[in-house]
Structures are given as C-alpha cells and as structure tokens.
C-alpha cells in the first residue's frame, strides 16, 4: 500500500495520460527521490503513508468490506461513535500557532525595544542608587524609567494589534465546513452535524450542498460538482459511480470535501474525513509553506541594526569617555540613558506602520485590498509577476472575436462595453449568418434586464451560446423578437457525438411558407454536411477551391487560439415539408446534409482592455510578467501576444524553427526571447532546466499547467533572486500564494482559502490593478526613505546636547522627557505626512529595486542625515540654547565647566556672568527654559527638514510646495503641539517645559533656512552632474 500513494501535488489536471511516458518519468523521479531530500519532515512522511486513495477503484462490495459498513443500512451508531473516537471529528485542525502571549512578548523585545528596556533599567538602577543616597531629584529617574517602559509597551501593543489584524489562514478553511449532512445510520436517514461524520458513513448530497467529506460516489443522478476551488477548473464536473480515471482527482466517482454539488443528487461512502481529506492536506501544506520575511521587514530590520549599532557604539564610547573624565559611575549611567533615548527614534516604527496602512487604504480604493501591511511595499519591489490568464488578464467571458463569410475575415469588437459592431454588415451572407446565430441558440437573457447594458446582462446558457447571444443582441437589438417571429418547431441540442446543434424554425416572412433549418457546430463537421456555400448572399457550389479557402480561414482563426464554430442553413422545400409536417428529432426525418454553408464565427475570452497598457507599464518598470494558465498553449500564446506578454517582435523556439524550417532541436535557444512551456514538459524538467528557461527568456508563458505547478514556477523565480508576485484563485493555489513573496488572490473569482493565503486581494480581478499597486508600493518605499531620513536627522540634534554636556560640562541643553516629546509628539504627524508625497519622477520607468543592493536606509541617507543636516540642526538649537542663557546672565564661556556647581543642590548663590546670584531652583527653571528653547529650535528646523525631505532629487519648487496638503497639516500640527507644550503645559513641572519668550522661536530660523538652501544646492548638483562624486555620495 505504501507504494500506491497518490498525492494532491502530483495531480495533472489538464494533462493527458500517457502511461509509457509516465513510466519514464517514474524512474527519473524515483532516482531524484533517492538522491536528495533525506530531510523530510515527519509530518510529510505521515501524510504520505496515510494516503491510499484507491477507493475509487474498488467495487461497492469491496468498499463495504473495507469500511465495514453497509450501503443499505449505513453504520451503526455504536460503530460510528467508535470510529469518531478513533479518527476525531470531521474538521480541520487549526495549525499550532504561536500563543498570543508569545507574539505579544516578541513585539516587546523586537526593534528598538531592547535598547529602550536597557534605558528603563538604567533609570531604575540610577533611581535605586540615588534614592539610597537621598538625592532629592531621584524620583525623576524612576518616572523616566516608567515613561520609557510605557513607550515600549505602547508601541509593542500597537505593533501587536497591527499584526493581529492580518487574519489567520486557517480561519477560512474552518469556515468552509458544511454545517449539516444527511447520513444513513442504523438503516435510518438522519441529519447530523458534518463534524460527526466518520469514515464508512453513507451520506446523501443534493444540488446546492457542500460535500461534507471526501466521498466515493455509489449512486448518482445527474450530479455535478464545482471543483474550481480545488483544481481551478471552472466547468462543472459530472459525478457518477463509474471509475473513470486512475487519478483520484480525475475520476468521476469521488467527490471532495468542501467542493459544492451544483445539481443532481448523489449518495456516497465517506472515505476520508477532517485533516485526511484532500482539502485538509492542502490546508496543512499551505500552512507548512513558510512565511518568509517580507522585503520591507528585512529593510526595517537592517535599519534597526544600523541605528542600534550607532547607538550602542556611541553609548560605549561615551561611557568610556565619561569614566576616563572621572565622572562618577552613577553620573555616567545617567548620561547613557540620555544617549539611548536620543538615539532611538521611538516613534518611527509606529510611523512606518501608519504610513503603510495609509498606502494600504489608498490601494484598496484602487481595488487592491492589502491584508498584510508589509505587502504594500513588497508589491513595489516585485520583479516577476506570475499571473493567471482567465479573469485576470482576460474578461472571463467568451466573446465573438472574428467572423468569416464571403471569403473574408472580419474582426469584431471585443472590448468590455461594446455597443455596436463596425464590420461590414451589408452582405446578404451576413443577414443569413446573423439569422442562424440568433435562432440556433438556446441561451436567453434573464428577464427584467432591459435597462442593463447588453454586455452586463445575465444570461442562462453556456459560455459560447452566451457570447453568440450577446453578439447578435448588440447587432440586432431584438433577438428575442426575432426568435418569436421565427417560431422554433423543433431542435436537437448540442451533444458531443454529433458535435452540432440544429433547430428548425418557421420564417418571419408570411409569404414564405418554407421551414428554415439552421445548424451550428464544429466547423469540419458542418462543412461535411454542406454542398453549397453562400457568397455575397448567393448560394454557390462548394468546390475544392472554396473548401480550401474555408480550411485556410479555419486554420487562421484556430491559430489565434479561438474557439471556431461553423454555421449553415437550409430552407426546406414547401412541398416536401408542409406546415403540418411532423418533425421527429429521433428519427431525423429531415435533411441534415447538402446544406448551405454560410460562415464561421470564432470566439475567445478576450483580454481586458486595460491589460495591454498595464503589461507595457510593467515592462517599462522592469517587471517580468509570466503567464501561468491551464489553457491550451495556442490560446495562451494568442492572449499573451494580444496583451503584450509576448511582444510582437519576439519569437519562441518553435516560431524560429517554423520560420527557418528546421527542427526545433537545432534552434539556438538563446535566439528566442519568448517561451511557451507546456505543463507536461514542465513536469519532466529538472530544476536546472527550469532555471535556464526562467533566466534566459524574458517572455514566458506556462500553458496547461496544473495549479500545483505554480508552486514550482514560483520557487524557480525565487531562485533567481526575484521578488515574485503570484495571482491565484483556487484552493490549491494557496501553497503558491503563500510561497510567493506576495500572493494576490482574486476578489471575485477567488476561493476563501486563496484569499486567506494571499497577502493581497484584487477586488476587481483585474491585472491592471496590480500595476497601480506596484506604483503605490514603489512610492511608499521612496516615501519611507524620506520619513526615515526626516526622523533620523533630529536624532543628532537630540544626541549632541548629551555629548557636549558630558565633554564641556555645560548645563544639560535638553531633557530626556523633552526628547520623547519630539519623537512621539511633534514629529509623528509630519513624518506620516511624507507618506502622502507624490512621486518625484515616473517611478514606473525604473527597474524594481534590487533586494540586496537598494536598501531602505543606505550609507548616504544615514550619513547625510546624521552628519550634515543633523549637525546643522544641532548648531541651530545650540544657538538658541546659548541665547536663552546669555540673555538671562550666563554667557557662553561661563557655562563651560559649570556643571558640578550648576547641579549642586546646596549651592544657592551661584554667580552668573554679571555677578548675580542664583538659587538652585532658579537655575533649574532656567535649564527647563533652555530645554524648551532647544525643543522649539529643533521643531522649527524640523519644519525645514520636512520641506527638504519632500524630494530627494528634484527641487522643492519642481515638486510644488503646496501640492501635498498633508505636509502643511503636519507643519501646523508640529507648531501647534510645540505651542501647547510650551505655553499650555509650561506650568506642569514634571514635563520640564516652560513658557518661552516669543523671539526665541526665531533664533534657529537662519539655520532652518540654511538647511533648505543647502539641500536645494545638493539636489541641484545631483541633477546637474548625474553619476558624479557628488551624486554618489549625496543622493540617498
């Protein structure tokens, strides 16, 4: 039994079966298996062992025996209970998730948290020592420690909340469980909860039900199931009790858990329940595919490392300096706290989250619903998009694309909102053809849709007939009228043996008593039945030449990947077929040969009109678009060509072979830009071959691929170091969606599982929406750079005071609490406002960023922010500091080395530069005044910093100073918060703010202006001398 293991991953859905070929593949793959992959997780091994889906091959009796059940009586309640106890309930077990508390704690120690914890701890240590020594200000450190801890906890809660919002993949799998099942137990039918089903139960399902478990059908009546969530196939599949295929997924006598029964009824034996079902396995696989860190998460980690590295080195350096300057260890510890707090941009991570969620909101307005916030940026760094065809690139509805009559091919309009067709409709052949198209059609509009545009009306009928109905409605505007005037007498519906559809109508001409026989079907079958052909409205004999013309046209239309239908008619002679003639479709008592051939119509699921543009945008954005479809290669290629995935000038190996008239093997594969890979070929490929294809062809189409093969393709792309976006809708797409750097599920066609596995949901299923998403993603990356640059700048202005304080022993220019008010107060809204900044240049004209080279925070950004603008800011702030002290009597030179006397609580007659004497509290108040001045100066200069960060290359005047209104909201909020802190809360001693003389707000202004002017020059030189030394060192 162990050898007979099937696996969902091996399932070939579209491929044909060729046992010989399979055997070859078998050897090779067994060999592969021997060689590699020793390390298999136990879980996967278990999975494989339990998989013995041969039930579809067993007869009913064997099944009864195997599951010790009875088809007529079902299980006994006792037996069922016993099995239930053994197998567990028929439900998917959720994956073992990390406990919430662990997740929460992780947030508490991630990012900058550890540094801040260290700061808080140092505070408490300092408090402990000072308290023991009876220092009056000891409590300040206690409070500061509490504030730091609060900052960590609050940002941790914020991050945790954000993470918790992204939903768990298992949630929807469990939602799919059918509620009730009709089961036969103790020879009685009864409704039980589906969770109580056990292997061996006999269940009945009817149209509309969800299949409650994997069941082997033992009786069926017109049962059809929708397997689309499992296999991606949208056509309803009939289910009967016959064993039709070796492959359990293909055979007709097995229906799967969570798929829907569309019509009919069926009875079956439950063969798998809960996690053992196919869906259960996919669920465990999807959760098994590791969630890799998103590119932005890596970038933020990198950035945190940089900042933490800088912080720790400065901390160590200054601890050494402080100790060697004979500071007391306690003092040194207190310095460290300040240095840590100044160095860590406390509000930044929250700002990044908010910026990302703002972009996510903007994207959802553009029909990209982002589930995982970090995916917002991932989309921007995407370098390969593996896209579905149906529904994503195409409109997901058949539409008439070409017509052939009068020896001529006409193209029809295939856009989404066609209202008229513009090809030449004057020919008599066309009127005959339009009549056949209209009459030989069983599809009907659902009533009550007169006001709806034709293309949007709901039709009852299959896809081709719907296409023809809409096509004729667009042209004739009164299909139903035509049909009532030409009353249908009898009809033979389409079936696969005949391959035609026929109907006989009365004519709408009251003088014409003949019957009209109209027929459509596979073109070659229709042609066989014709002896004449209509040319320009006249019947002419169908000679060899005309037959050849037909062949050419048929081939041409077929070569476009379109589904071609032939149309013919015959006016039945009045004398042979009078009014009362009893037509009988069984005996076919009417002619079905020697008909008159009228024309061909071809249909295709046409590309969405926005897609070609979107694909070309992707191309100019350096993103490779790979089509992965289950369709036939010819259709796939045709659509790929029409949307530009394969550009007009590119050729595949096969095309070159055809052009040069040489065998495919002789073609130099490097000559072919494009490749169309069949799913069958893919299956036999080694990893190297796949890599070779992915690396050496820029335009690739994978046709006839099973949704499972998507996973291989995605992994192949990821081996190329690409950031891969994948679209998908079926349940079995979910592993690929999870594996992809960004999984994109379809909002309309997608199954819940796919939506859950995805990072993003396309609400309109439109490929073009991905491209707008990419644009937003790139924009947010650029804007996050700006945000970080903005935030890092003031860190230097916060750090320098401590360094100067230690080295020059001046009164402390800015307090730790004040720093927190900048980082978590005034700076928050402006840095979020940068997320609203418009792109500087066409961001869709550059290559996607390289994962490892184009970092979010690079050396230039850090150096420019820290060593240039940051330093300028410090100077401006120090100017304000010195001004405040000097105007109160402490001239700058007096301040040098004053620290010990300044901080001496018993020294209450400290002399200033003018001979006045100050008490301790008077000095402290002055010190707070200095804090406030320093704070205000940083704020004022941050306004300039905010303005310069709007662009990285363009002049502010090119970008427009007022285009981003949110920036101004940011500036006003910044100033308003500063005003409130200064004048409103100036009397709250604990906050260390004091009211500040109005003129001090302007002291740092020259530096603010200098920052702006300097940055304008920087940008000017960057623009003027691209590639120069300046550009390399100054552009971040």
């Amino acid at each position: 039994l162990f050898q007979k293991r099937a696996d969902i991953y091996s399932v070939e859905i579209h491929g044909s079966k060729d046992l010989e070929k399979v055997d070859k593949g078998d050897e090779k793959e067994n060999y592969k298996d021997l060689k590699g992959n020793r390390k298999k997780s136990k879980k996967q091994d278990d999975l494989r062992k339990e998989l013995d889906l041969d039930d579809h091959k067993l007869s009913n009796e064997e099944l009864e025996e195997k599951y010790s059940t009875s088809i007529t009586k079902g299980l006994t309640s006792a037996k069922a209970a016993e099995i239930l106890a053994r197998d567990g309930p028929n439900a998917l077990t959720p994956p073992k998730s990390t406990p919430e508390i662990i997740k929460f704690l992780k947030q508490m120690v991630g990012g900058f948290s550890l540094l801040l914890w260290a700061g808080a701890l140092l505070c408490w240590i300092a408090f402990g020592i000072q308290f023991a020594q009876g220092v009056p200000s000891a409590r300040d450190n206690l409070y500061l420690g509490i504030v730091l801890a609060l900052v960590v906890i609050l940002t941790g809660i914020f991050a945790y909340y954000q993470e918790a919002k992204s939903t768990n993949i298992m949630a929807s799998f469990s939602k799919m469980i059918p509620q009730q099942a009709l089961v036969l137990r103790n020879a009685e039918k009864k409704e039980i909860s589906a969770e109580e089903l056990v292997v061996g139960d006999i269940v009945e399902v009817k149209g509309g039900d969800r299949i409650p478990a994997d069941i082997r059908i033992i009786f069926s009546q017109g049962c059809k199931v929708d397997n689309s969530s499992l296999t991606g196939e949208s056509e309803p599949q009939s289910r009967s009790c016959e064993f039709t295929h070796d492959n359990p997924l293909e055979t007709k006598n097995v229906a799967f858990y969570s798929t829907t029964c569309l019509e009919g009824t069926a009875t079956g034996i439950v063969i798998n329940t809960g996690d053992n079902t196919i869906i259960g396995r996919i669920a465990s696989l999807a959760s098994g595919v590791g969630n890799e860190k998103t590119p932005i998460a890596l970038e933020i980690e990198h950035f945190v490392h940089i900042v933490a590295g800088v912080a720790i080195s400065i901390v160590v350096l200054f601890f050494v300096i402080a100790v060697s300057m004979h500071y007391a260890v306690l003092d040194s510890i207190i310095f460290l706290i300040g240095i840590i707090v100044a160095n860590v941009p406390e509000g930044l991570l929250a700002t990044v989250t908010v910026s990302l969620s703002l972009t996510a909101k903007r994207m959802s307005k553009k029909n990209c619903l982002v589930k995982n916030l970090e995916a917002v940026e991932t989309l921007g760094s995407t370098s390969i998009i593996c896209s579905d065809k149906t529904g994503t690139l195409t409109q997901n509805r058949m539409t008439v694309a070409h017509l052939w009559f009068d020896n001529q091919i006409f193209s029809a309009d295939t856009s989404e909102d066609q209202e008229c067709q513009t090809f030449d409709q004057s020919s008599g052949t066309w009127s005959a053809l339009s009549k056949i198209v209209t009459l030989c059609n069983r599809a009907e509009f659902r009533p009550g849709q007169e006001d709806t545009p034709i293309m949007k009306r709901i039709v009852v009928g299959d896809a081709s007939e719907t296409a023809l109905l809409k096509f004729s409605e667009v042209i004739l505007n009164d299909v139903m009228g035509v049909r009532t005037r030409n009353k249908k007498v009898t009809e033979i519906p389409f079936n696969s043996t005949n391959k035609f559809q026929l109907s006989i109508h009365e004519t709408d001409d009251p003088n014409d008593k003949r019957f009209l026989l109209v027929m459509k079907g596979a073109p070659e079958r229709i042609l066989e039945r014709c002896s004449t052909i209509m040319i320009n409205g006249k019947e002419e004999p169908l000679d060899k030449e005309r037959a050849e013309a037909f062949q050419t046209a048929y081939m041409e239309m077929g070569g476009l990947g379109e589904r071609v239908l032939g149309f013919c008619h015959l006016y039945l002679p009045e004398d042979e077929f009078p009014d009362t003639y009893p037509f009988d479709t069984d005996s076919m008592n009417f002619p079905t040969s020697n008909l008159c051939f009228v024309g061909l119509l071809s249909m295709i699921d046409p590309p969405r009109s926005t897609v070609p543009d979107a694909v070309s945008k992707c191309r100019s954005a350096g993103i490779k678009v790979i089509m992965v479809t289950g369709d036939h290669p010819i259709t796939a290629k045709a659509i790929a060509k029409s949307v530009g995935i394969i550009s007009a000038t590119s050729e595949t190996v096969e095309d070159i072979a055809k052009r040069l008239n040489i065998p495919v093997e002789q073609v130099n594969k490097r000559d072919a830009k494009a490749a169309v890979v069949n799913g069958m070929e893919l299956k036999d490929m080694t990893l190297e071959q796949l890599d070779d294809i992915l690396a050496n062809h820029s335009e690739i189409v994978f046709a006839r691929t099973s949704p499972q093969q998507k996973l291989i393709i995605v992994e192949g792309c990821q081996r190329q170091d690409a950031v891969v976006a994948v679209t998908g809708d079926g349940v079995n797409d979910s592993p690929a969606l999870k594996k992809a750097d960004i999984g994109i599920a379809m909002g309309i066609a997608g199954s819940d599982a796919a939506k859950n596995a995805a990072d993003m949901i396309l609400l309109d299923d439109n490929f073009a929406s991905i491209v707008t998403g990419v644009e937003e993603g790139r924009l947010i990356f650029d804007n996050l750079k700006k945000t970080i640059a903005y935030t890092l700048t003031k860190n230097i202005a916060e750090l320098c005071p401590f360094l100067i304080y230690i080295i020059a022993s001046i009164p402390l220019p800015i307090g730790t609490i004040t720093i927190l008010f900048i980082d978590l107060g005034t700076d928050i809204i402006p840095s979020v406002a940068l997320a609203y900044e418009k792109a500087e240049r066409d961001i869709m004209n550059r290559k996607p960023r390289h994962k490892k080279k184009d970092r979010l925070v690079n050396e230039q950004l850090a150096v420019y922010s820290y060593l240039q603008i940051g330093l300028l800011q410090s100077l401006g702030a120090f100017l304000a500091y010195f001004t405040v002290y000097a105007e109160q009597g402490f001239l700058p030179y007096t301040l040098l080395n004053i620290r010990t006397r300044w901080e001496d609580h018993s020294n209450n007659d400290l002399e200033d530069s003018y001979g006045q004497e100050w008490t301790m509290y008077q000095r402290t108040y002055l010190q707070w005044n200095g804090y406030t001045a320093f704070f205000v100066s940083i704020t004022i200069q941050q306004v300039a910093d905010l303005i310069i960060r709007k662009t990285r290359r363009n002049s502010i005047f090119q970008q427009g100073l007022f285009r981003n209104k949110v920036i101004w909201v940011g500036i006003f909020s910044q100033i308003a918060i500063a005003l409130i802190l200064c004048y409103g809360l100036g009397s709250v001693a604990a906050l260390n703010f004091t009211p500040l003389r109005f003129q001090y707000w302007f002291v740092a202004m020259p530096y603010a202006i200098l920052i702006w002017v300097y940055d304008e020059f920087r940008k000017l030189f960057i623009r003027q001398y691209p590639g120069s030394w300046w550009d390399k060192n100054m552009y971040y």
């Binding site: 091996s10 055997d23 078998d26 793959e29 590699g36 992959n37 992994e715 009597g889 007659d909 008077q922």
Partner: protein, 318 residues
C-alpha cells in the same frame, strides 16, 4: 489493472517527491544558508570585519579607496569649517546684542534667594560638640574666610560711606565704575569675630550669617528695609530661648542697593545679617527657618526652599 494503477500512483508519489524535492531544495538551500549563518564563527566574523577595514585586493578601507576617503574627508573638513565659522559668527552676533553690564532679562533671578554662612560640606546642618573643638572649627574657618572681605580696614580703604536708610543710586553712564558702600564686619558685633574669634561656637552660642542673593538693579524692600526673622521651623518653639540679630535692626539697609553688576560695582560686598543663637536646647537637632520679610520678597514658594528663606538645622552637643 492493479499493476498499472500502482505504477501510476507511484509516479504520482514520485512526482510529488520530485516536487517536494524542489521545494525541499529551496528549503535545504535556506537551511544551508542558516547553517552558514550559524556556523559563522567569531573567526569568520573577525575575518570579515578585517576585510571590511582593509581589503588588500581592492586597496579599500571600509569600502572606500584612499582617494575616495581623501575626497570625503576634505569635503567634511570644508563643510565643518564653514559650519563652525557660521556658528562662531552667530555667537558673535549674539554677543553683540548683549549689554555687557546688565543682562537682558532679570526675571528668573528675582526675587532674591537667601544663603547662610558657615557653608561646610555642601550642607545646611550645623552640628558640633562643644567639647570637641575639631567639630566646630570648620564652621569658624568658613565664617572667618567669608568675613575677610568685610574687614574694617578693607572696607574703609575700598568703599565709601553711604547714608543709611536710602538707596544709593549712581545714575552714571553705563559702564562707569560704581562705588560700593562700606559694610564693616564690626557692625556684626558679637558675631564679627573680633572679640570672639570662634563666633560663639566655643560657647555654644553660634553665629549664622545671612546673605541675600545679588540681583542687578534690584531695589530690596521697595523703600522699607527687608527684615530677617528666624524661628523654629517645626517643633517646639521654646527650643530657641533667645537669639540676637546684628545689626540689631535685623535688616539689610537700603543703602546697599541697587547692585550694578560685577563689572562696574567692583568692590561690592553684600550686606549681611548675623543671627546669634544665644540660648538653645542642647543635644537636640533644631530645624530653623530664617525668612526675609519685606515688600516684593517671596518666602513661601514650595518649589524653591531658598527663595526668601533658608532652612537649616542646628545641633549643639555638650
């Protein structure tokens, strides 16, 4: 047929394995990478750091060649010279706006604070034992040292005699030298240290000097001299049985005000009030608050315990 189906299924299993192998390979790759990371010993790390610090192949130090370093350092040198120049210029500008004799604002230093002498060990606890001279000697030294500037001959030599009871305005041109009024230590009588060089400490009748902080232009008391009042801060009032103020008025005379700043009012000596605790409870720590009373004086501001008042303890052991 069973053989066929088994083959087919094996194939499927095989395909899956193949597939899994591919996935597995990816995993293995990642795993390998991780192992690599884990295996990276300190040696390797050190090697990497070394290579980063100096790469002999590319002759680059920390990713930059010598020329590159030269350029960037030159750039920063120039930039910082410019910034330093600009900052110096701004500071110069700031200094230009300042009046060298009077600070622009005096709102934070007024009203005045009070300090006491002796001032020993940064504390306000005067505690000594009569029997041990070493326990009170530091206080005496501190007092003596402080009062040197008040020696009668120094005062007579440098300062002028002023009219008591009125402010000594000297509305000269700004920057002109101002004269200071004499405050001779003999005014402190018993606490002057002339008769009793131990300022009463040896006898258990210690003297404390009170000094009001100097504030430029401050007219102390606004016409009425500020008066000093000392009493037990908390506890039994009778702990201090008697005390004496010198000068007897216990005031800071108006003639010592206003102060014109140390650049012009060169020999200014702050007026003092001495308090002698002539009879206090022995062997007991007495908290004492001396406060100023007068117009414009604040002596009950909770945040600043030295504003218009001073609190200290006195302990005299026998």
């Amino acid at each position: 047929p069973p053989s066929q189906s088994s083959q087919s299924l094996t194939r499927q299993g095989g395909t899956r394995k193949g597939l899994k192998e591919e996935g597995g390979l990816g995993d293995a790759h990642a795993g390998h990478h991780e192992e690599e990371m884990a295996k990276k010993t300190w040696d390797d790390m050190l090697q990497e750091v070394k290579l980063f610090l100096w790469n002999p192949e590319t002759r680059k130090c920390m990713g930059r060649s010598a020329q590159s370093w030269g350029l960037i350092l030159l750039f920063y040198l120039l930039l910082y010279i410019f910034l330093a120049g600009m900052f110096a210029f701004c500071m110069y500008g700031l200094m230009l706006t300042l009046n060298p004799y009077t600070p622009t604002y005096r709102d934070r230093v007024a009203p005045p604070g009070v300090v006491i002498r002796p001032y020993v060990d940064h504390g306000f606890h005067i505690a000594f034992n009569l029997a041990e001279p070493s326990s009170w000697e530091p206080y005496v030294t501190s007092m003596e040292h402080f009062l040197t500037a008040y020696d009668d001959h120094v005062q007579e030599e440098k300062n002028v005699q002023c009219t008591p009871g009125q402010y000594f305005f000297q509305d000269d041109k700004e920057g002109d030298k101002r004269q200071a009024c004499q405050f001779k230590r003999s005014l402190l009588q018993n606490c002057s240290g002339t008769e009793d060089p131990t300022f009463g400490y040896a006898m258990g009748q210690p003297c404390i000097l009170l000094k009001m902080n100097r504030i430029i232009g401050y007219r102390s008391g606004y016409g009425t001299p500020v008066k000093v009042d000392c009493k037990v801060q908390k506890g039994d009032e009778s702990d201090i049985q008697s005390l004496a103020y010198y000068p007897e008025s216990a005031t800071f005379d108006l003639m010592y005000y206003p102060y014109y700043g140390k650049h012009t009012h060169i020999n200014y000596t702050s007026p003092l009030v001495a308090v002698q605790f002539t009879e206090v409870r022995m062997n007991h720590t007495i908290p004492i608050q001396c406060s100023l009373n007068g117009e414009g004086i604040i002596n009950d501001y909770s945040n600043d315990r030295f504003l218009g008042r001073i609190i200290f303890t006195l302990y005299i052991g026998m």
